[in-house]
Symmetry: C5
Subunit: 263 residues, 5 copies
């Protein structure tokens, strides 16, 4: 009952936010940013401070309206996705994923986000960056494996982000040895290709990891089986660090996130 | 004397809270959630902020009444258990264990909990997730061992949660070698089967551990002997991380916890 | 001079606190709790928050009077010792050591302590637990060594608490190999038996260490020589973690501690 | 629109700050400090506290004007560069790089910076120091390699700072073995010499790293390819720690930084 | 200009503080404490909280006057040195080094320091302890080496404190092997004996390190060359931890430090 009356209040608010949305610019070519190589993906996990919850309801709504404006303004250039981590990840409440052709555009968006009235309640707890690339090893894979990888994967609502650091031995291996191990890795992952969506970001040098792996699934048990399969191939022995932190959350549109934040 | 008069005050309060409870929905099928495979278990340890203790007594009671309402509302879908960690674990005061068939329901509950007036005083310090599964190795065990494992275990008041990460060698072992080691592990644990209740959650991929092990006992010395026995079997050499953090507390009903929090 | 006038103020206060003390219950059988096996020892290190120092003097005195009442109330069941860490340990100001036959009694005391007006200014930074046991290896030692171990050790004012985690190899060793190494360890420690008091707590499973070792001495150089001797025996190579954190402080009666806290 | 009106406001402000700048002293011999051996380079990453964002606009402008004065005052002695980390690095918002012939001059500047009204909102999160030296190994390189290294490198807008700690084996190697490995390292880096600017600081003893490597580039993908190449040479196996933390940001003049901070 | 007027203000203050100083007791036998074996050296690094900078100038001066009184009062018993870390070390602003024949005297001083109005703005971030001892290995060194070690070393203004933990292998080595390695270590250090002052504290058991090494120099490049030389000897391979944290700062008299703090 308490919850229901709160939700009623939010419904009105969303109407108002909807008006703001109507005037925003056309979105960037999201599909291209999300599928092409040479794109920078950035993951930023935020914690919301204790003061946010103490603001009165109209103030929070006003702040979230500005937030929405900031995000919409950048949809021309960037592909922005939002996630709710609260309850499923330690120390973080929100996750923002940004795809851009230049990292300085991502930075400008994040600076404006943090300068907004809502953003002043955010602390950055995790930043991951990576670059999408043409598949390194796939060209040498057998044709049937290449074909299997073309099938579409199902999506959300669960999203998991796992950063990986390879050991020094991995990088010292000749390319063909790494390719053979990656083929074994890919074959082990294949049974889960349909139920678990994967996306790989190359992070070496941009931070303290070599890869950022992004997963989306409706079936967490399938996701777990995928990771267990990957643990068993030889390439896994070259993971010096896997996760730590692992981010777990649910895909939420900005409007859905705003509904949670308005509570 | 000071303590006694405080306790008198709480007794009245609990009466009031009792009235709220009377109107809540029927509980979820707790037994099923707590015994079947394919259920997600989530452990969240919270620290209470310093401001909570500075609120006046009627405000705290009002906030705890809302807390109780939030928890009761979710008992339809979730099995929720509560624990007091304060004094026995570092950096955390409370532990909530939630069993659900979908992790997004757990998240919704935790989001509502943190949005409640009491929840705004909580900081999440640890989140563990895991999936219950049919026993992996038990089917191949000898019949007498299987039978011994069917006996009931005694419960509380002490609860201990130990996360475990296996090393890369463990996952590279063939299934039958792991099964043999797990049989040795199970036989080492058998003498403590009656006095120490155990429950296993598979965590790989959902966070930075492979297993979350939950223990409940009235005899902490028996629990310690169990862990010492398990340390001596070959499988223990594949624990890359064991504990760190280890959570230790006591099982408390929500009403008992509220009594402590109202102080 | 400033210090002296402050100390005058405290002297009066202690008189008042003395009155409160007079009405408290008879102490638990301290000697038994401190000497027998099967007793749980808990070490809790606290940091005092910045607000405490900003309270006016009469308020601090009033809060410390309540603190004294809380501690005295539990002396019936528990053996409680207090230490000053400030200046000698990082991140912590006070240490409380509690011996109890049941850990839930210790928890109840610590919960009441933290719910007291002074306790609301405390943050728990370290919690160690352990169980006292009959000496594991001593029964097999030669008689002269056993006799030497019966001599009394001198006490305080310095107290050092060092947690230890053994490696996996240690637990995999057969009992007689561990016994032989522990005899070498004990012989290396013997020259310091008189000047350095030692007490061992078995922590495995109750937290992320296997042993909590407590030392008391008036001669820190002798204590250091003891640790250097122990570093040289074979058993030391099985210490995966030694200290980190190491707690160093001085033994202080509750009244002495209150004098410091009232400043 | 909101953003645009803010930017209008800042434009005025910068005019005012411009007047202050006009009266400042002539800059230190920046070129010498940035190119010669025997110069100390210090990198300090700061986090801005939450209170800064809550100050009204005129106060922030006034504080930033003083900041500008402090920096200009030290340009006589020091080469000072500024960077924006926010959005691209965890836990830090700003980076200041200072070159000086004496580290005590750098300290005096940083003390005055932190004593300024803006500086009181800064928390130091990372400090790296290093000394520039004549190239250790280059004198023994073949002439064509030496020539290639003389070509100019392109600059910004991206800056990356990676600290490195070598292992004990590295330092135990004879000089000629290290020289041979460094030649292989240099050859691997050569293809990126034009697009990625590098500068090396020797840090051993001055902090917990042996080298601080500074990179500047307009092409982050080229930078990443450079690091991947360096990962594959034998010398990389002697990196005990590489990054952690890695700092990523964009080069910003003080005026550009002030524009961001005024928001 | 702003800075200059501030410094004028401080000059007056120092005059007032000078009067307080005039009435203090004669200093302890500093030379003995700083040169003899059997003395405890304690290093405490403090961070100053954000509130300190917000106090008005007269209040800060009043608080610093009390600070000066506290320090002077203990000069009878203790040798107290002060350092400025701000700008050169992470997370810490000040360093205090105390030499005492009993660690409880050091504790009493630090307790009084933290109880003073200025001390209430300090957070302890690092505490190192160690005992000075007669040189362990020097008696067996050749005479010419012994003679060379008797020459005086130059001092400040730079001070560096590096804690070291040896590995288990080191302690297991026979004394003569360690002596041979320490002779090689000493010979490697000899060329820097004149320009870099060194002092060694034995820390085993008193904290999580085995040695605290203190360096003072006017020539940081010589200091760095010294550490590089020491990295190349066999004994260095037994350093399990070297630094982390490394403290870097400048020697400042209490009056000089007060000048900085009054800003």
């Amino acid at each position: 009952m308490i919850m229901n009356s709160l939700r009623g209040g939010i419904a009105c608010v969303l109407f108002v936010l909807g008006c703001v949305t109507a005037s925003t610019a056309p979105a960037a070519d999201r599909d291209k940013l999300l599928s092409e190589p040479g794109v920078y993906g950035t993951f930023v996990a935020f914690r919301i401070d204790a003061d946010w919850g103490k603001l009165d309801h109209p103030t929070r709504i006003a702040h979230l309206t500005v937030l929405k404006g900031v995000v919409e303004q950048y949809r021309e250039k960037l592909a922005i996705d939002t996630y709710l981590l609260r309850g499923l990840s330690e120390h973080a409440d929100l996750l923002v994923r940004v795809h851009a052709t230049e990292l300085k555009d991502t930075q400008q968006f994040l600076v404006d986000l943090q300068a907004s009235p809502f953003g002043k309640h955010l602390t950055t707890v995790v930043v991951f960056h990576g670059l999408t690339k043409k598949a390194n090893y796939v060209p040498g894979f057998p044709d049937n494996l290449k074909n299997d990888l073309k099938a579409a994967s199902e999506s959300g609502p669960y999203a998991i982000v796992i950063p990986i650091r390879k050991d020094a031995d991995w990088w010292a291996l000749p390319q063909e040895k790494r390719a053979a191990m990656m083929q074994e890795h890919t074959e082990a992952a294949l049974p889960y290709h349909k139920t678990v969506k994967r996306k790989l970001y190359h992070a070496t040098g941009l931070e303290d990891f070599d890869f950022i792996t992004y997963f989306e699934t409706a079936k967490l048990d399938e996701f777990q089986s995928l990771i267990l399969s990957l643990n068993k191939v030889k390439e896994a022995r070259h993971n010096r660090r896997f996760g730590n932190p692992t981010l777990v959350g649910t895909v939420r549109s900005l409007d859905q996130l705003i509904e949670v934040l308005a509570q």
